[in-house]
Symmetry: C2
């Protein structure tokens, strides 16, 4: 797009965002410089601010600006239940349902040997330490049912059961609002065997 | 995703990028904070740097860190030809073909009444001033053949011809490497009437 060094540096930096290729990065740089220099400066400030202030909650590992996140700091939450989720986004989805009032542990990833993500890269040791809390009676593995989510759940369930913890998983079944004929067969088979 | 103010501010700022919705913004923020804080700081620096240093070339209006961009400052370019393009990306595409050695004028947009982009928002007055240079013998409208590109070309051609300038456009025709049966009919009709 240009031989201008500041512009090339901006395009290169934008390309490092997930899902952004060279054309999108050029379009973003062009848009910011031509139409939204204000937004560019705001984004620069937000990036530095987040890097400076956002750390991990000491107990549940999610993003937090305090030592404890707002959920861990809330004495009203049910301390006997610990839901393990992959990301803060998954945690937020579960919170929005309003169906869960227990505590969380956020892995910040899932096992993915292909991408070189092993037991040490996700917070497994911290999870085991957290689950060792005598108040925790049930660990709910609220992981996705992708291949990596399944592998992660399997590894975690083994480690947790070896330490005498009760481990449960989210129910697999037919999504609300869907027609049976369009649901994949393995989901229907699970829904059948887990019928209630 | 979070009640943390720095994180919410980052997600909001990322959402202002073109083509980025709430899910992508969350994913970007998560990726930067979890896996690439270095990249986040680099992007913050690149944004501030580009806003501080990148301005418009005095002659052709493209992005430039100097008063004149490298093409306008190049005395070897053919000053009798002036190609009008919509964006720096279009200019870069034309440069890469190696088929053009003249000068440029970059509109930095195109007329789009629906989006409220009028004659004043793209550099039409500056173009007319630039084209008034006695050295310019031919103005080549290298605009896209979208509805907006056509409308822009029509308006510019009228204004330039009224000032006695020779105005040409890029040839419309069948793209290199394409099968006739898959080319739209209006392109084929243009290619037929412009046959040579």
């Amino acid at each position: 797009m240009s031989s201008e060094p500041s512009l090339s540096a901006l395009i290169e930096a934008l390309r490092r965002l997930p899902g952004v290729g060279i054309k999108s990065a050029q379009r973003m740089a062009f848009h910011l410089l031509q139409h939204d220099r204000d937004g560019a400066l705001r984004l620069a400030g937000a990036l530095s601010g987040a890097v400076a202030h956002v750390h991990h909650c000491e107990r549940c590992h999610t993003f937090s600006e305090q030592a404890l996140c707002s959920i861990c700091a809330d004495a009203q939450r049910d301390a006997t239940k610990l839901a393990v989720v992959e990301t803060p986004a998954d945690q937020a989805a579960l919170e929005r349902t309003g169906s869960y009032r227990g505590c969380y542990f956020v892995l910040m990833g899932r096992l993915s040997p292909i991408d070189g993500v092993g037991v040490r890269d996700i917070g497994v040791a911290e999870l085991l330490e957290r689950a060792a809390d005598a108040a925790v009676q049930e660990v709910i593995l609220a992981l996705g049912f992708s291949a990596e989510g399944e592998a992660t759940a399997h590894a975690l369930a083994q480690a947790l059961r070896a330490r005498g913890k009760t481990v449960t998983r989210l129910a697999r079944g037919v999504p609300v609002g869907s027609e049976l004929e369009y649901v994949d067969l393995s989901t229907i088979a699970h829904a059948m065997s887990d019928r209630r």
